[in-house]
Symmetry: C2
Subunit: 103 residues, 2 copies
DNA sequence: AGGATAGGCAAGTGTTCACTTGCCTATCAA
DNA sequence: TTGATAGGCAAGTGAACACTTGCCTATCCT
């Protein structure tokens, strides 16, 4: 369950892909490839990026929509919230209440 | 930099250790070992747990303090906040303000 | 139809990683 | 001092993983 999420975040290339999708939503596979190459100096094959996107999609971090022969990718940050919810910090509760107990 | 943090979170055993430290702070290595064995049915050697704790400490997720021959481990959730800060959600800003814009 | 664009499937390879085994050091109690 | 407890260091092994290479399918344009 949570395994795929953390495994997906474990790779630095995948995190860079999330950065790119956060900056520009709805990119295609080739668009991500060229931006990884030009902006991040990542010499990586198209298939490698495709596999990374599959992992990110399995983790729920990326959602896709097809239009013809193009496949657009969108970032979904919702699964990230489960991380801070699992180990909540006393100062920052995951269910914030408008109440002050520790001044 | 962030690599050690995400690599540390990638392993399910390490996440279970964080769960245990979140429940009971200041546990020793042997205490963690026995709780992993009895409460989580994890048949794992003491050295394996020690290596996991070293990874978690390198990521800043676990802080240690020595007293004689005992070493106590404490959870530090501060590095986890960098995750949600890296990919902020429009609905949940990382700097929450007491204001309602989307009812 | 035919080429070009956008993407998918599958096997092979090298590296990283989790875990074990074996031995060693340091502190505490008798 | 001797034995027991708490932990550390280092090499070795097997499996998971990132990446490549090669080929195949589907859509769009002329």
């Amino acid at each position: 369950m949570a395994d795929v999420l953390f495994k997906a975040l474990a790779d630095p290339t995948r995190r860079t892909i999330l950065d790119e999708l956060a900056e520009k939503s709805g990119q295609t596979l080739f668009e991500i490839c060229s931006r990884l190459s030009t902006r991040h100096r990542l010499g990586i094959s198209r298939q490698a990026v495709s596999q990374h996107l599959a992992v990110l999609e399995a983790a729920g971090l990326v959602e896709t929509r097809r239009e013809g022969r193009c496949k657009f990718h969108d970032l979904n940050t919702a699964p990230l919230r489960r991380i801070t919810e699992r180990w909540p910090t006393p100062d920052t509760p995951d269910t914030p209440e408008p109440e002050k107990s520790t001044p």
